[in-house]
């Protein structure tokens, strides 16, 4: 890109998006910083009184503002609290109470960052929206493809599988071909105050990681307890709510049993948590819905590598498109921890073919 463009950078206050803004400015572009305000921490802070180091806390809005000020670029906070509540938090809660384990980061990217924020950017006549994600968008043969970030430790393409062709044409990931060390070196070179900030790990709206308490505060009350049963049908104990469990979970079951037990299924309607031994976790296939095919839906089944959670190394699989935006994934070998609610993302080497939500 040699031409000077107007680029909105989604700034979280963290080192990645700060370096993104600084690099684009250094390349001569007109950069505008924007931060999405998506969650009101005031009630939480009032109750607990501590500060948080997650990606979206109020402190980080201040950091983002200070970085933008240092770069001398316009900076705006856009308030998406209502949309975040409706599109992300409500679905997060719905999923847990329906026995699924949601992935709110993908939803936030899909419905807020690359939808609402991108629209805001376009309203400002911006040519592109840039973020600090570790992924790449490559244009070839008149179409765009989403690629893994070059740093395998940081690759975030999994969280971005919902990107459409139109969105990819308007989005930039300037950090996609860098390592985290290179980004930190840039941050130090630019003298960015966020250079030494620790990585955020938790879900931004559950900054202490205690999602159970979060769910109870959001949707508290009502009879939630039920049975813990073995796959054989034997009653092993009771639980205080199915939302406290995730498929694949081993710890915290509180049941004495000769062999290690895992959660292998959750039946929210019957308020039942089903547990079994390791072999009961194994799955040969899964079905996803809400599929996005990055370069269009394939006409025939195809071979790909499927990742069933963010840190999953991937497994060869045959993917068969089904009607109504669904697809069947048959693994080359049995997989543990197929978790309803998580995303399954399909890859051809480093290229994202598509992905969907595990049923």
């Amino acid at each position: 890109m040699t031409e000077k463009k107007r680029i909105v950078v989604a700034m979280s206050g963290g080192v990645d998006s700060s370096v993104t803004a600084a690099l684009l400015q250094e390349q001569g572009h007109e950069v505008i910083g924007m931060t999405m305000q998506i969650w009101d921490y005031s009630s939480f802070t009032a109750q607990h009184g501590d500060t948080f180091g997650t990606c979206c806390s109020l402190d980080d809005v201040h950091d983002a503002r200070r970085v933008a000020e240092g770069l001398g670029i316009p900076f705006y906070v856009v308030n998406f609290e209502q949309e975040f509540q409706r599109q992300v938090i409500d679905r997060f809660c719905d999923d847990y109470f329906a026995g699924r384990t949601p992935n709110p980061c993908v939803l936030c990217n899909q419905l807020l960052k690359f939808e609402l924020l991108l629209r805001r950017a376009r309203e400002l006549e911006a040519d592109f929206l840039a973020t600090g994600h570790y992924a790449r968008i490559i244009g070839e043969d008149g179409a765009f493809s989403l690629r893994q970030g070059l740093d395998p430790q940081k690759d975030q393409s999994y969280f971005l599988f919902t990107l459409t062709q139109e969105q990819m044409g308007r989005v930039l990931f300037p950090l996609g071909d860098m390592t985290k060390e290179e980004v930190r070196a840039h941050a130090a070179r630019f003298g960015l105050r966020t250079a030494e900030k620790p990585e955020s790990q938790d879900i931004c709206f559950v900054p202490d990681g205690d999602y159970v308490r979060f769910l109870e505060e959001e949707r508290g009350g009502g009879e939630m307890n039920g049975e813990i049963v073995h796959v054989s049908g034997r009653l092993l104990g009771r639980h205080l709510g199915t939302y406290r469990y995730t498929v694949g979970q081993r710890r915290g079951l509180g049941i004495a049993w000769p062999r290690p037990l895992f959660v292998v299924g959750i039946d929210a309607d019957r308020r039942q948590v089903v547990v079994g031994e390791e072999e009961h976790l194994a799955r040969a296939e899964l079905v996803v819905h809400g599929v996005n095919w990055s370069q269009g839906e394939p006409a025939a089944p195809l071979q790909a590598v499927c990742r069933i959670r963010y840190r999953h190394q991937g497994v060869p699989a045959e993917i068969t498109p089904l009607p109504a935006g669904r697809a069947r994934v048959v693994f080359a070998n049995l997989q543990r921890g197929v978790t309803p609610g998580q995303a399954a993302v399909f890859y051809d080497r480093d290229r994202v073919i598509g992905g969907g939500w595990i049923e």
């Binding site: 505008i32 316009p74 308030n79 998406f80 629209r119 309203e123 400002l124």
Partner: protein, 399 residues
């Protein structure tokens, strides 16, 4: 890039002569006005002079002025202080649906403490219904709180009539006059006001200083329980430089009000007429005539006020969508809601609040920049596209 400031209802620049008057009170005359010695004495005189200057602007006696740290503190003190002092007399407060959050949220807090609050509706121009006010008064009513001028629309309440009703029923009357001072004449005697709030930074004094007029004989429970400053009414060491600045700013505002506001009104009218002449489907929010001379609040159908503001900012034009205290909130403004402004129009409300430093050239620049931005945002709006092809869409006809 040009920088044009049309957000004077949010804050104003400190006037150079005000800053000049403040400067000696940082390093040279640094004393604490409560001290008995020479250093304190010199400064105590300056504080009392400022008190006289503020008092003159609103036509009260200096002893009735208490310095506070901002407008919100003044409102908080007036309302909570009254609620506590008159607890035995009653538990009912009357206010309006379009007050500043400093008043509304204080009233909501008191509701949680067991007080009852009536929030009076306004009409589509944002005007208060005096008959409804009078009808709302009960034997337990201890306070009427109604703003002098609305910060978002500039609509002026009939304050003298409100004051007369309050006097007739022997109910205490508080008014947030933060937006009115320096823009329209304010006289606490004519208006029968018991408590009135002044904010420094809206009229050329620095941020962080304000004043509360407390009519003689008005019992008010202090909210800060510390030293004996301000006749035991507001503890805390005086912010002397800011108080000196507030005093001078009030004096200048009184002297220049008629002259400067005539100029501001002409500029505002030029902007208003220019917008209506150049842009279709615009609605004026607030009263068309009974309004602050500097304020123009308009809704541009089909677009979001926030997007418009950011686009204006990128062109160097500072305006606002309602109150700066609530910007960043997606909720359409409570003021627009109370005035039966349709929700899509409420989202697009934009406030230009001018000051004496604005020029005709600046107004003309805004009139040149604004129409293409509005058109571009409308072209991007799915609602607008649908409306263009849909004959039954009637929202526009109602504008």
């Amino acid at each position: 890039m040009k920088r044009i400031y049309m957000d004077n209802n949010a804050t104003t620049a400190v006037r150079p002569e005000v800053l000049e008057a403040m400067l000696p009170f940082f390093c040279e005359q640094f004393g604490n006005p409560s001290s008995v010695h020479w250093a304190g004495r010199a400064v105590a005189g300056a504080v009392e002079k400022a008190r006289e200057q503020v008092a003159r602007l609103i036509n009260c006696s200096p002893a009735e002025i208490v310095f506070v740290s901002c407008g919100s503190k003044g409102d908080d003190f007036a309302i909570k202080g009254t609620a506590d002092a008159l607890r035995d007399k009653g538990n009912h407060i009357i206010t309006t649906a379009v007050e500043h959050p400093a008043v509304l949220n204080t009233c909501k807090f008191l509701e949680k403490q067991g007080f009852e609050v009536t929030y009076l509706a306004v009409d589509c121009d944002g005007m208060l219904d005096l008959a409804a006010l009078e009808a709302a008064i009960r034997p337990q009513t201890i306070l009427i709180s109604a703003m002098w001028a609305n910060n978002e629309t500039g609509t002026l309440f009939p304050i003298e009539e409100v004051g007369a009703i309050a006097r007739k029923h022997r109910v205490r009357f508080h008014t947030d006059a933060v937006q009115a001072l320096g823009k329209v004449p304010v006289d606490v005697q004519k208006a029968n006001v018991d408590l009135l709030v002044v904010s420094g930074h809206k009229l050329g004094a620095p941020k962080g200083v304000g004043a509360l007029f407390i009519r003689k004989g008005t019992k008010l429970t202090p909210l800060i329980h510390g030293g004996h400053q301000e006749r035991n009414r507001r503890a805390g060491t005086h912010n002397v430089p800011a108080i000196v600045g507030l005093g001078l700013a009030c004096e200048l505002a009184g002297q220049e009000l008629a002259l400067k506001m005539e100029k501001v009104r002409r500029l505002r009218d030029r902007l208003e007429q220019g917008i209506f002449a150049r842009i279709p489907e615009v609605k004026l929010n607030g009263h068309p005539t009974v309004r602050l001379p500097n304020t123009l609040n308009v809704s541009f159908a089909w677009i979001e006020g926030e997007s418009l503001l950011l686009n204006l900012d990128l062109k160097g034009i500072a305006a606002s969508s309602g109150s700066a205290c609530t910007s960043g909130s997606l909720e359409p403004s409570h003021v627009m809601g109370a005035m039966c402004v349709e929700i899509t129009l409420a989202h697009s409300s934009t406030r230009f609040s001018l000051g004496p430093d604005n020029t005709e050239e600046e107004v003309d620049y805004v009139l040149e920049i604004l129409p293409p931005i509005v058109q571009r945002l409308r072209d991007m709006s799915p609602l607008y596209q649908r409306h263009l092809t849909c004959e039954e869409c009637s929202i526009v006809k109602r504008i």
